[in-house]
Amino acid sequence: MSAYDLAVVGGGPAGVAGALTAAQAGLRVALLDAAPRLGGQYFRRLPETFHATREAALHHGLDRFLRQSRALRSLADVLLEHRVWAVERHGGLGDFVVHAVAGDREERPVTVRASALLIATGAHDRPLPFPGWDLPGVLTAGGAQALLKGNLVVAGRRVVVAGTGPFPLPVAAGLARAGARVVEVLEANGPLGLARHPALAASKLGEAAGYALALARHRVPYRARQAVVAAHGDGELTHVTVGRLDRDWRVVATRTVECDTLAVGYGFVPQVELAVQAGCAMGHDLDGSPVVSVDAAQRTSVAGVYAAGEPTGVGGAELAEVEGRIAGHAAAADLRSAVHLAAEPPGTAVHRPAEPPGTPAHWAAGPAGLAVPEPLLRRRARLRAFAQALHRAYPVRPGWRDWLTPATLVCRCEEVPYEAVREAMDLGATDARSVKLLARPGMGWCQGRMCGYAVACLAGELPQAPRRPIAQPITLGSLERMTDDPS
């Protein structure tokens, strides 16, 4: 017997919406998140001790999220500072065990048991390596954002923001508003970007216009087809080399820009290791990311496991919330029908529509039989189309490899230079895994989260779904004391 009907991993927009929807439908829900406050990366909150009266100024859409969080806390168990390191399918179908370590200092192992599982673990920045990217003063765009939203610390005085896609814009706007001198914003792709998809862009226009206005007000230049191709400094960042790029991101000209801080991001990496652990079928998104395959109701290929938000494809907070709500509805409906089916006498015939071969038996051919409100499905379709358009408008182009020198570190943790990656391939490595076995990129602390995309590209393949049986570091003491009994 499970302690909960649904365990939700991740307290961002997808997880909170999913947990709330399921709880409102009557399920017993536990939500686990590693952070001390709900919000995930997008709605990273200030500590209570800041007594902020206008925190919403740091966010887009915070009030709505706060309402959901408050409602959730009264209907479900919210377990904060719980870092989930493994999920297991225990006895049989519909009996999952979530293993976490709780506490930020003295960690203790915690086990949560549930009939169903919603994976809403979000994403982290996707950096690309370039000479000097490991100098202090170089931050991911999300890192700069986290300093501001979570600590009210401005990442630097003279800041360059670089990368591709829509995310650098709010980061630059936030830094400028907070008092940083944002020297320039560099977009590696073409200047048109979203403008090529005016119809799709319309729904987001208000938000984008706000950032553009903020940048204009602070006289921040926005330059397309340019990127930081090298960072320099003696122990800390003092200046960067900005390259003017061709269509494939090869450098055609360079100039130097003085700055103490660089915030850089080339998209996001969905965090999918728990889905891999659970045995869920995986696919690839347009941006090359390994993502969890889901059906119309956000069901994964493993019965009882749902996924929502960035793990099913990076699409932003609004899409994440909608997917979370759909998953919540689906989990509630599925669990109810499971109880219902169990009550039926043996031999009852269940008719299913014909499905393409290889489709998991529990995947519905369509949403018809689901208790998911139609408008939600329509919104998801629209937001997904928008996300796909963004992926097409802001791809990572192959020319970034030319930014590397033989000595450029590809793997920051194990300090593996580009030349070692090339040597591994010369020795007979043919994919990212064998490059890792021979040259160690991805073997270190971060387990390839920072370099995985780059190493896969260099090895000539799409990044593979990460096999990480230990999704978060756990002391051997906690591992030893791990228990299967729910706490």
């Binding site: 045995g279 194990e414 043919t430 073997m443 230990i470 051997l476 003491g477 591992l479 030893e480 791990m482």
Partner: protein, 372 residues
């Protein structure tokens, strides 16, 4: 046309290819994946003499130990002659360890104060035996760099990765090559160095080899700034588990540091086919055993775990030599958990067979026909 086609670019295949090329033979190595992508990439890189019962496997291990030291001069693969320390919980077990060491006739020292060797070992252990010859290599690098060294020094080696063998070609009852996804490759001899998958290759050639997978997990810790474990340290139970015939889960503590600063924690053995599903109970047992041996590990974090499939034969001996049932087909597989350690001797002896020389060791105990 090659003189020798080696199937498998793991440590054993690489050693076979290296010694064959050194003997002047023209060698083609094929692997369905990359270099060292199978069991070689899923182990610890053990080069052990300490865990072998006296007999043919120990003879092979001693020869291999010497050859590894020679090869370390040829190529760089993090050869670490760190020595092994087998520890006993009780005086009775210690007496049995000493008895084994005496029978082995291998260089060893009886250790009463374990902390002279390993300052962080738990108190209360009865003692142990130190084997200075035990060593460790980075197995993936070893395989890859041996192949490269053979290519550069002897020039007669081709490595073809991503090529899957789909059949073994024969003519007049003799092997003439292999059929692959990239076409036929003809050769005078074929060496089956497919490790855990060696049985499949044998079946393609119409002969049976009883090689089955035995799954093992390894836990890897965060990199430590100061080495906590100097030797390869394991408990006496490891020796009995290695030789055990049980199908159920067996674990024993095997703990060692690596040049990268991480600590590797093994060892588990279970027969579950090729199932890669991670078993948390196994990881938990490995953690508990390691902490019991080195209490300071309690606060060290595990960051990774992986599993591999050791190729084992019913008598726990590898299969080395020409198959009496099919001339031209040679086997070099079934080394169970000792494939890295035994690779050079296997390659060296097989190259002698391929060159028509008399092998330095009697290969009868490893004869491929012994199961029929």
């Amino acid at each position: 046309m090659a003189d020798v086609i080696v199937i498998g670019a793991g440590a054993v295949g690489a050693a076979c290819a290296y010694y064959a090329a050194r003997a002047g033979l023209d060698v083609t190595v094929v692997d369905r994946g990359p270099v060292a992508g199978g069991t070689t990439g899923a182990g610890e890189g053990n080069v052990l003499v300490s865990d072998k019962e006296p007999g043919p496997e120990l003879d092979l291990a001693l020869l291999s130990n010497r050859l590894w030291r020679e090869l370390a001069e040829v190529a760089d693969f993090e050869y670490e002659p760190k020595g092994g320390l087998v520890v006993a919980e009780t005086p009775e077990v210690l007496a049995r360890l000493e008895e084994l060491a005496g029978k082995q006739g291998v260089e060893h020292t009886r250790v009463t104060d374990l902390r002279d060797y390993e300052p962080h070992l738990a108190p209360g252990l009865a003692g142990g035996v130190h084997y200075p010859q035990d060593a460790q290599v980075q197995p993936m690098l070893a395989a890859a760099r041996l192949l490269k060294a053979a290519r550069e020094r002897y020039g007669s080696l081709r490595l073809r990765t991503g090529v899957t063998v789909t059949g073994v070609l024969t003519s007049s009852g003799r092997v003439t090559g292999v059929r692959t996804t990239e076409g036929d490759i003809l050769g005078g001899a074929v060496v089956n160095a497919a490790g855990t998958w060696g049985g499949e290759i044998a079946r393609m050639a119409g002969v049976e080899l009883p090689i089955l997978p035995r799954r093992g997990f390894i836990l890897v810790t965060e990199p430590l700034r100061e080495p906590l474990v100097r030797h390869k340290v394991y408990t006496a139970a490891y020796v009995t588990n290695v030789a055990s015939d049980s199908a159920g889960l067996e674990t024993s503590a095997v703990v060692e540091g690596t040049p990268a600063g991480t600590v590797l924690i093994g060892a588990s053995r279970e027969r579950v086919g090729f199932d890669r599903t991670v078993s948390l109970p196994v990881l938990r047992r490995l953690a508990a055993q390691a902490v019991a041996l080195f209490p300071a590990l309690r606060d060290v974090r595990a960051i990774r775990a992986y599993c591999g499939f050791r190729p084992y034969c019913p008598d726990h001996l590898p299969v080395i030599g020409e198959d009496p049932r099919l001339p031209g087909l040679h086997h070099a597989c079934g080394h169970e958990g000792a494939g890295i350690g035994l690779a050079p001797a296997t390659g060296h002896l097989l190259a002698q067979v391929l060159s028509g020389e008399r092998p330095d060791l009697d290969l009868t105990p490893f004869d491929p026909g012994r199961f029929s």
